[in-house]
């Protein structure tokens, strides 16, 4: 197996174009497991660990935060928790301290598992992914268009993920996940919610609830249309919102849980997170964890 270790983004893109058989590796917390379990036998590894451009973040002129694909969960939690609270909450639930030190959002997007914890908050916040190839340059892919199927994403064979872009939270954001263990657990299902009070709009993201992470569009539209943003949350509205979130899921029965339980739990999480966010909103609190 060849081991490619580019030291700049340019080199990385060139290597990607030259060696479509090389598997990118960032933190390796997915890749190494696959290699150990013999699920994958790539001809080469393209190690992105030395690519400096991926390792940091910046604020763009319009205020959007641009976060390199190689930023670990641990750094994201401490460095960006105030601006990206939903994602930071999700990051806090990933694996163990060791995994959070190595694992990255870029890797989560690369793996595109329906259970990946970064996806729901990115969907809810309306993040955009920046992918790039040497031949065609940069493409900006909205989160909701990125997930193509179970563990498949919209990345071309010559493309790499450079960063994700997300506006700092404009209102309360929450992430909730279900696991039968109190830590280190793959989501049985998960839900993320972001309120945009100025726009009178809500964003949602569902995890482990369908072949891909997805948004609950009807629930979002319902809330935008029916909620009274200047009043306390109406019970009936919250209940209907929860139902619509449940209905947006197409879960399966598997060894981690039943489809019925997943639907039920998503409804509970939707109602609870909406309630928390609404309370924050009414209290005038902005972002909150």
């Amino acid at each position: 197996m060849d081991f490619l270790r580019p030291e700049s983004w340019e080199e990385a893109l060139a290597a990607r174009a030259e060696r479509p058989d090389a598997l990118p590796i960032q933190g390796g917390t997915d890749v190494m497991v696959e290699l150990n379990f013999d699920l994958r036998r790539p001809a080469a590894l393209l190690d992105l660990g030395a690519v400096r451009e991926l390792a940091g973040w910046e604020t763009l002129p319009d205020g959007t935060v641009r976060v390199g694909a190689g930023v670990s969960y641990a750094r994201l939690i401490t460095g960006l928790g105030d601006r990206l609270p939903g994602l930071a909450q999700a990051a806090r639930t990933v694996g163990s301290p060791q995994i959070r030190n190595r694992g990255t959002v870029g890797g989560n997007l690369g793996a595109a598992s329906p259970a990946g914890d970064a996806h729901p908050p990115l969907l809810a916040a309306g993040a955009v992914y920046e992918v790039e190839s040497a031949a065609r340059g940069v493409r900006l892919v909205p989160a909701a268009e990125f997930y193509a199927g179970v563990k498949r994403n919209a990345l071309g064979p010559d493309e790499l993920i450079r960063a994700f872009r997300q506006a700092p939270a404009a209102g309360p954001q929450y992430f909730s996940k279900i696991g039968p263990r109190n830590a280190m657990v793959i989501a049985v299902c998960s839900f993320a919610l972001a309120l945009f009070p100025a726009e009178r709009r809500v964003g949602t993201g569902l995890g482990s609830a369908a072949p891909t992470p997805r948004r609950a569009y009807e629930a979002e539209e319902f809330l935008a249309a029916e909620a009274d943003w200047d009043a306390d949350l109406d019970d009936a509205v919250a209940g209907r919102f929860a139902e619509l979130v449940s209905a947006a899921a197409s879960p399966i029965d598997d060894v981690r849980g039943t489809a019925e339980y997943r639907r039920h739990a998503l409804g509970v999480l939707a109602r609870r997170t909406l309630t928390w966010a609404w309370n924050d909103h009414r209290k005038g609190a902005g972002a909150c964890a």
């Binding site: 150990n36 379990f37 013999d38 909450q89 806090r92 639930t93 163990s96 929450y174 992430f175 909730s176 996940k177 279900i178 696991g179 039968p180 263990r181 109190n182 830590a183 280190m184 657990v185 793959i186 989501a187 049985v188 998960s190 060894v255 981690r256 849980g257 039943t258 019925e260 339980y261 039920h264 739990a265 509970v268 999480l269 609870r272 928390w276």
Partner: protein, 769 residues
């Protein structure tokens, strides 16, 4: 030998005698990653062994073509059952398990062929090239159906039932007519795995005399040897066993895994062979805890006194006998727990199926029944209007009580008092909701407190200590005292396996106390000394502790006799602080002076009292050596809308006779309780049509530190006069009682019946099941 890391280093424990919290010599090494586990062994020229396993639960092998595998460059051997040099079957008590499948496979993961190659990758490629023509058959997977029709549903020639053990006392029919309150229930227990962290591994080195040296992680060197030698076609003295670093066991290393396989490959190739399973293979490489289906009925007077009980317990042993007969005996003899019940009928069955093979695991047959009988006690209490502690106290057995087998408990068993002490312990405060880690789901943030209900539950467990039913599981110890660098030095040598429980530490503590010497080393366990029995059944402190103490006493007697002859001292001598001490005259000489350059060495066997098998019809008999009790109170917070559980606290009272090492002991109770928590809430090998669906730690969940609550312990010391130092085996009892206590607490919070463990979230919330 040029191994860079061999188990030859003599362990050198720290300070402390019996009763001190001596530190483990292996503790720091394990925490810093320097401890040499069996998987770290290495010798130049080693080949890598690999095992081809059945993908099917039940199938015939029409043909195997090894040619393409043998043709892979770097492959040194490819073996099947035809290459087994000796007996082709092995087993703990009953040899019915093929070393390699003979014409058919009876469970998923059954070994079919072996490869030795110069690189693990080569071995893997060769395995892919072994072509097998399978005829897949429908597996037999319903244990209850096997009990009903054992002649038709045969996995083994001998029929479907491994053992049926009835227990009969009194007259259940007339007691039933008198009973004022009757409760019943069906309960089941899923397959729990030992989930030890160090997968099966070891090294086999061929020797010049045609024999083989095996370095393996096991619970019982001599038990392994007796099974390995006949299969390798070698006399026992040509198979030399040394214990390699064991990464946990919990019963899962009582059966053989890679031992014979590595030996075969080493003998065939004439080169050292190393086999190391990965986590996936490990799930197929050892037996698990028997899953159980149980049906209970209790009758009582209105004031809660039990007048009769019936129980049917069906344990699924999988395809081979392993330790199922003994697991059945425990389920039968301990099937109603430590309660006085005048009339009873128990039927415990162990059956063969094509499900994953099951055998020994911490608690050994007593765990499954404990979940059922404790659930019944709560049910009965509720029916009589009595609380969980009250109903247990009313029926509690004690010293002088009879077990279901008629055996009289002849040493302290203060159950009622233990319950009273447990109940008196303070309850934890409500959760601090400002920290998500205190709530069900933890930082997954499923709740900020919504839907969270607290529950409290109790559980009691009764476990036999040492092997039962007539087994003479003695232990042997050799103790040598000599002067080295001017200081008296003791070497203790046994074949007893340190599996993480702290036995090495304890052996040194005993030697220090008995011989008054600080410098004690424990030689690596091997078979150059007689049998020590298995590190299971909570028996090593008792048995190997007893043997070390006896050998020390023999050494001490000789030293004191020497002192008397040399110094003309009186009869009131003892050894302390490196000196010979006279009760009347104080220190009279140093041990070093008395010994000079003489070496004093003695070997002793230690036997427990004899027991008898259960009567095949009535189940009666004095079958157990010693009995041990633990009681638990669990406090849980349950998110009743989502079915998520946070165990807030586990409190326990356990009687251990004598605290040999409090630090180790508390570790055993903490760990045992956590393993019981795992069974209550998450640990299950999920099987469908005989196939395992979750053979990984991604989906076989064991408790993390955030699942494991603070544990309040009260440890009693009521000595057993028959046992060394009065001690009572302690490793298993907490594993029994924590499971039903937690389930009872979750029932209290949710009102759900919960007849099955592990509990799944969907079992708990009302709207989702």
């Amino acid at each position: 030998m040029t191994t860079t890391r061999a188990p030859g280093d003599v362990a050198a424990p720290g300070r402390g005698g019996v009763g001190d919290s001596a530190l483990r010599p292996d503790g720091t090494l394990k925490v810093t990653g320097e401890f040499a586990y069996a998987s770290d062994l290495w010798i130049d020229g080693t080949l890598f062994g690999a095992t081809l396993r059945s993908p099917y639960a039940r199938a015939r092998i029409r043909a195997i073509d090894l040619g393409p595998a043998l043709a892979v460059p770097g492959v040194e051997a490819v073996l099947t059952h035809e290459d087994v040099p000796g007996r082709r079957l092995y087993g703990l008590d009953h040899a019915d398990q093929p070393v390699l499948a003979i014409g058919e496979v009876r469970h998923q993961g059954e070994p079919v062929a072996l490869v030795a190659a110069d690189h693990p990758e080569t071995a893997r490629r060769a395995m892919e090239r072994i072509a097998i023509d399978w005829e897949v058959l429908e597996p037999i997977t319903d244990a209850r159906a096997v009990v009903a029709d054992p002649d038709r549903l045969r996995v083994q020639e001998r029929g479907g039932i491994v053992r049926h053990q009835p227990v009969r006392v009194g007259d259940v029919a007339s007691a039933r007519a008198r009973a004022e309150v009757v409760v019943s229930g069906d309960f089941s227990v899923g397959i729990q795995d030992q989930a030890f962290l160090g997968p099966e591994s070891g090294l086999a080195v061929p020797a010049e005399d045609g024999g083989v040296d095996l370095f393996v992680a096991t619970q019982w060197l001599w038990g392994d040897l007796r099974q390995i030698a006949p299969c390798l076609g070698l006399p026992e003295d040509k198979v030399r066993m040394t214990l390699a670093g064991v990464g946990g066991a919990f019963g899962g290393r009582e059966d053989l895994s890679m031992q014979i396989h590595a030996g075969m490959l080493a003998l065939r190739t004439g080169r050292p062979v190393r086999i190391v399973y990965n986590r996936y293979e490990s799930f197929f490489g050892h037996v698990h805890r028997h899953p159980a289906q149980m049906r209970y009925e209790y009758g009582a007077t209105r004031d809660g006194r039990i007048v009769y009980a019936t129980a049917e317990i069906v344990l699924d042993g999988g395809a081979y006998t392993s330790s199922t007969p003994n697991v059945v005996a425990n389920a039968a003899s301990l099937g109603l727990g430590p309660y006085e019940i005048p009339n009873l009928e128990i039927d415990a069955y162990g059956v063969y199926t094509n499900n994953p093979p099951c055998g020994a695991m911490r608690g050994f047959g007593a765990v499954q029944a404990c979940f059922a009988y404790e659930s019944m006690m709560d049910r009965l209490g509720a029916a009589c209007g009595l609380g969980p502690v009250e109903i247990r106290r009313i029926n509690a057995a004690g010293q002088g009580s009879k077990l279901a087998t008629g055996q009289v408990i002849d040493s302290p068993a203060p159950l009622a008092e233990m319950l009273t002490r447990l109940e008196a312990m303070p309850l934890p405060p409500p959760p601090d909701r400002t920290d998500l880690r205190n709530l069900p789901g933890g930082v997954s943030q499923a709740t900020h407190g919504e839907g969270v209900v607290r529950g409290v539950g109790y559980g009691v467990g009764l476990k036999n200590i040492c092997f039962s039913e007539g087994f003479d599981d003695y232990s042997t110890a050799r103790v040598r005292l000599e002067v080295a660098a001017g200081e008296p030095t003791v070497v203790v040598h046994t074949a007893a396996a340190e599996v993480g429980q702290g036995l090495v530490t304890l052996q040194a503590q005993i030697a220090r106390t008995e011989l008054g010497v600080d410098r004690v080393t424990v030689a690596p366990a091997d078979d150059r000394i007689g049998d020590a029995g298995s590190s299971s059944a909570s028996r090593q402190s008792y048995m190997t502790g007893g043997a070390v103490r006896a050998a020390c006493a023999a050494v001490r007697d000789e030293v004191l006799a020497l002192a008397r002859t040399r110094l003309g001292a009186g009869d009131d001598l003892s050894l302390a602080g490196g000196k010979v001490v006279s009760a009347s005259a104080g220190a009279v000489a140093t041990i070093a002076d008395v010994l000079g350059d003489r070496t004093v060495e003695h070997t002793r066997e230690y036997h427990h009292r004899p027991t008898v098998p259960m009567d095949p019809v009535t189940g009666q008999g004095d079958t157990h050596v010693q009995l041990a009790l633990c009681v638990h109170r669990a406090v849980v917070d349950v998110d009743v809308e989502l079915g998520l559980v946070k165990v807030v606290e586990l409190a326990a009272v356990q009687d251990v006779g004598k605290i040999m090492n409090r630090l180790s002991l508390e570790g055993q109770i903490h760990g045992g309780s956590a393993q019981g928590l795992g069974l209550a809430l998450m640990e299950e090998i999920v099987v469908q049509d005989g196939l395992v669906r979750n053979p990984s730690f991604t989906d076989y969940l064991i408790p993390t530190i955030l699942d494991t609550p603070p544990q309040r312990l009260e440890i009693l010391e009521r000595p057993d006069p028959r046992a060394p130092y009065g001690l009572r085996g302690a490793g298993e009892p907490p594993t029994l009682s924590s499971t039903p206590a937690i389930v009872a607490a979750v029932r209290a919070a949710t009102g759900r019946p919960l007849n099955r463990v592990p509990i799944r979230p969907e079992d708990l919330c009302r709207r989702c099941s």
